[in-house]
Symmetry: C2
Subunit: 395 residues, 2 copies
């Protein structure tokens, strides 16, 4: 008599959560320093100093009724002005403050825009493998259907031929996540340009827009000066879904935004639908104090240098041991080919070395594993012999 779909979602743990819980038990058994847990994408560096300063300043120096009071559903007007100005200065765009909608983080951003756009159970949402498994949950909750398109297995860039084949008259939107969780790949400008050209062609052919939803919580987590293409500059019908979770190491605070391109078709109607979807999903407004905190920290990030150190250490060691790794330009994940076809079997074998890795089957990419390197550099150093031993068992 209750909702069986919701019961299913709540009772079947995600594979990541399952491994993390195993890790908790194992840590209790043999000690935390003996377990090499690479399962969770939880930032391991603290929020930048400016976050603490902003909170203290706001609490001490502002009217608590305003600070903790409702903002408008779209978010505080000053906050939206500052975010639009920051985006426009960084990316030479022309996004209006009235096209920004503050949200409770990236998951909320995605659920709201999907609910706003979805008009029929036939609506399809393309994404590229590997993809964050919750995309399927969010798309189905909005009433649509997720259509995963296999990426080029050599570099996990977009496979344009496969992409073109997947676009149908029912394609409502394409979800892009670059830098990518779990591959760490940043899509190249060339591939994105070609993909956008395809979408434009198909939009014209079918007589309705195909929206581009850019899920970019890892936008600032790139290394060696790599640039992340800002999709508003590539495609008119772009919707940005952003979260401050990773850039400011605030994942629990649930703060992010939706930004609509000023060139979006029917922009005012889509924005109204975003407001309606936020209302229907019970969001009311994004956390009021955190709206003001993130605005005081625009342009700042947590110290992500440890992620680069970790990436270099792990990538170089694992490739030297004989693993096939996708080179990650961003995010904090290393995507590794399982030495045996069954990545689940490989992950169980890794457990014998106390290595907790995530099989990528749920990410739409069987035969691969995700290693979240947002951990201490020491943990990686200590884990390297285990990785080596594990590979030797396959040779």
């Amino acid at each position: 008599m209750i909702n069986e779909t919701m019961y299913g979602l709540g009772s079947r743990r995600s594979v990541i959560r399952e491994i993390f819980e195993y890790g908790n038990r194992r840590r209790a058994e043999i000690g935390a320093d003996k377990v090499f847990d690479f399962s969770l994408g939880n930032p391991s560096v603290p929020a930048p100093r400016e976050v603490e300063e902003a909170i203290l300043d706001l609490v001490k120096n502002s009217d608590p009724i305003a600070l903790h009071g409702y903002t408008s559903a779209q978010g505080d007007a000053g906050v939206r002005r500052a975010i639009a100005a920051d985006l426009n200065a960084r990316y030479a765009t022309n996004i209006s403050p009235d096209s920004i909608y503050m949200t409770c983080g990236a998951a909320a951003s995605l659920c709201i825009i999907l609910k706003a756009l979805n008009a029929s159970s036939a609506d399809e949402y393309i994404t590229f493998t590997p993809f964050f498994p919750e995309y399927r949950v969010f798309v189905e909750a909005a009433g649509g259907r997720l259509v995963p398109v296999a990426s080029d297995p050599a570099d996990f860039q977009i496979d344009l031929e496969a992409f073109e084949k997947a676009i149908t008259p029912n394609t409502k939107a394409v979800i892009v996540n670059s830098p990518n969780n779990p591959s760490g790949v940043v899509f190249t400008p060339e591939k994105l340009k070609a993909a956008c050209a395809l979408m434009e062609k198909k939009s014209k052919e079918y007589g309705h827009p195909i929206y581009l939803i850019s899920d970019e919580p890892y936008r600032e987590l790139v290394y060696d000066g790599k640039e992340v293409p800002f999709l508003v500059n590539y495609y008119d019908n772009t919707v940005i879904c952003y979260s401050f979770s990773k850039s400011l190491s605030l994942p629990g605070e649930r703060i992010g935004y939706i930004a609509l391109s000023n060139k979006l078709e029917d922009e005012r109607r889509v924005y109204a639908a975003v407001c309606g979807a936020g209302r229907a999903l019970g969001y009311v407004c994004a956390p009021s104090m955190m709206q003001r905190v993130v605005v005081k920290c625009l342009g700042k990030t947590a110290d992500t240098s440890v992620y680069k150190t970790n990436r270099d250490l792990l990538y170089n060691a694992l490739t030297a041991y004989g693993y096939t790794c996708i080179y990650p330009d961003g995010a904090f994940y290393l995507f590794v080919k399982s030495p045996e076809a069954d990545a689940n079997a490989f992950c169980l074998k890794a457990r014998e070395q106390e290595l907790l890795l995530v099989p990528a089957d749920d990410f739409g990419t069987p035969g691969f594993v995700r290693i979240a390197y947002c951990v201490s550099t020491e943990q990686i150093q200590n884990a390297l012999p285990a990785f080596q031993k594990l590979m030797e068992s396959y040779q």
Copy 2:
């Protein structure tokens, strides 16, 4: 091609928001002190000192990675233990920490439990007039149907006869909001006992539980030592939806919880569905720092004495002028019978006196208006001559 229901929800402003926007324009025209705005249920007293102290203490003395990091989806385990212990101590209940689910406020609590319970488009949710208009939005977003039942117009307590007639085999749940927005009425133990007995009888008759959803953001906002019946002690199949918005004057921070009675039928299955619904709606976890803040403030409230002062001043003056008012034991609303049948016409006439009141048509009670007295006592004093003049125009 977008979702027209969401577009409708986002483009049609609520009547309250409409009046508030009119107030903003009018304030700019004639000065803020000349406009007597009673439209919004926004707390007018600051959060208690303990909130500021808790934030400062947490920011200065805890590990920022844990403080701002993800909690489990259900909420931090220590936070849930503290809330369960507090409830059990205050109400002699036996609620388990594992039956608490932390949420982004009351609207989120309602959306999540409705999504968790709703199994069919035939499912019906009874509520009593007058009711918070967003109930309709939330119930319909979950896929169900709202069934408003008229209360006794003399005192806005439950009309048991009307209630019994409204219960059908499709009744999935009954939503109770006491102290009530917009009437300020606290349901009496006698009426609640009789209503619960009816629900038990009908549950048996139909062979499935009828859930009782208690929406109680105003639980602590009662005057003259009035007691608010805690429904877990009245009915086994009770779900509490709580928010700290009003008690701690933190409406923008979006923090509250769902608590399931330990006697709820299929409690573990319902809790799993709650977790699933939170996931499907994109909630991930409730804001992490605020979870810890509210736990440090359990048992505290903002200084609500001004609300009592305001209630007494307004109720006594308006009844003396000849208005028919429902005596409010709680919340911060006065519910007043319109002197003419059309409450919208009355509210427009009130505008001529610069009084901004909300017609209660959207609350399911035509012919009444809501006066939100969560304003300064000075505003009420200054508004009294206008209320008097307005009534004189009807005599």
